[in-house]
Amino acid sequence: METLVADVLLTFLVVIAVGIIVLRDLLAAVILLGAYSLTAAGAFVVMDAVDVAFTEAAVGSGISTILFLGALSFTKHEQKPRGNDSWVAVLFVVVTGALLIYGTLDMPYYGSATSAAQTNPDLAVRFLQQSGSEVGPPNIVTSVLASYRGYDTLGETMVVFAAGMAVLSLLGLKRRRPGLEAPEDAPGDTPGETPADALDEPPTSRHT
């Protein structure tokens, strides 16, 4: 029963992915991406990864959708109606997929308890048996994340910080380039505005 639920949810994911490929409207694709993340998170629950499901629901489905909508509100939301389904791309993708499927043939089956990942005495077994006494929290994922692999989490925080700085420097700073004069009454032009205010500036373009 558990495997059946997981498999059906996976099939839903494939259907949604096909929908994302076929649909031309970007807004529809973004809505479908939200549904995709939500389904994926549901499947994570079925696969016992509750922490991952939490993060995927909040970050993948929530924040990511809002980010895409924000980006679309600055740009256009129609994809050009063109037949750009090239046979080369299809061939490349099919060949790559076939190779990957060939690679899965000798992998341990879904749910196998005897695969190398499950029985390695230094990884899963050790965390499952010792983390309760060594670190403390009942949630083993928390112990591993914050203690055994704490530097990983530190690096993650640094990456998120760097990404935030990159977004701010791309969008938030005042633009002064030759050839693109900001209009006199543009809100981002007045001194003392915060970068967040400048984010709201309507797009000014040379070509439209």
Binding site: V18, A71, P138, L145, A162, L170
Partner: protein
């Protein structure tokens, strides 16, 4: 038959991965490319999580009591927790770049941008 049931999840992951890759290769729209990147990322998360699942296991949260249940493998969960957050950070930077590109060129179609860039005397 057993092989199909056992490996079905991996095959689905490969199909999802290829769907994302196809969108990234064949679609010229930049936002669509990022959506494809999101698909690809999520399929990788899936690959890891399916490998950590143990049949009949439960989530790796210790319970008080004498009978300890079978737990799934917590290590992939930890790796993927990090990857999800980093993935969203990547999409955020990519979308910011797209917004800047739109301001500069007035288009988010990769081929149109190439044409516009070729027409300009100098960048």
């Amino acid at each position: 038959m057993e092989k199909i049931a056992g490996l079905y999840s991996y095959w689905v992951v490969v199909v999802l991965m290829m769907a994302g890759l196809y969108i990234m290769i064949a679609r010229y729209n930049l936002v669509k490319k990022i959506i494809g990147l999101g698909l690809f990322q999520t399929s990788i998360f899936y690959l890891y999580i399916t490998m950590g699942k143990v049949s009949g296991g439960t989530a790796p949260i210790l319970v008080h009591g004498d009978v300890q249940p079978v737990f799934s493998n917590p290590v992939p969960h930890v790796l993927i927790l990090t990857a999800i957050v980093v993935g969203v950070a990547t999409s955020a930077v990519a979308l910011a770049l797209i917004v800047r590109i739109y301001e500069e060129f007035g288009s988010i179609e990769a081929d149109e941008i190439a044409i516009i860039e070729a027409q300009e005397p100098e960048a």
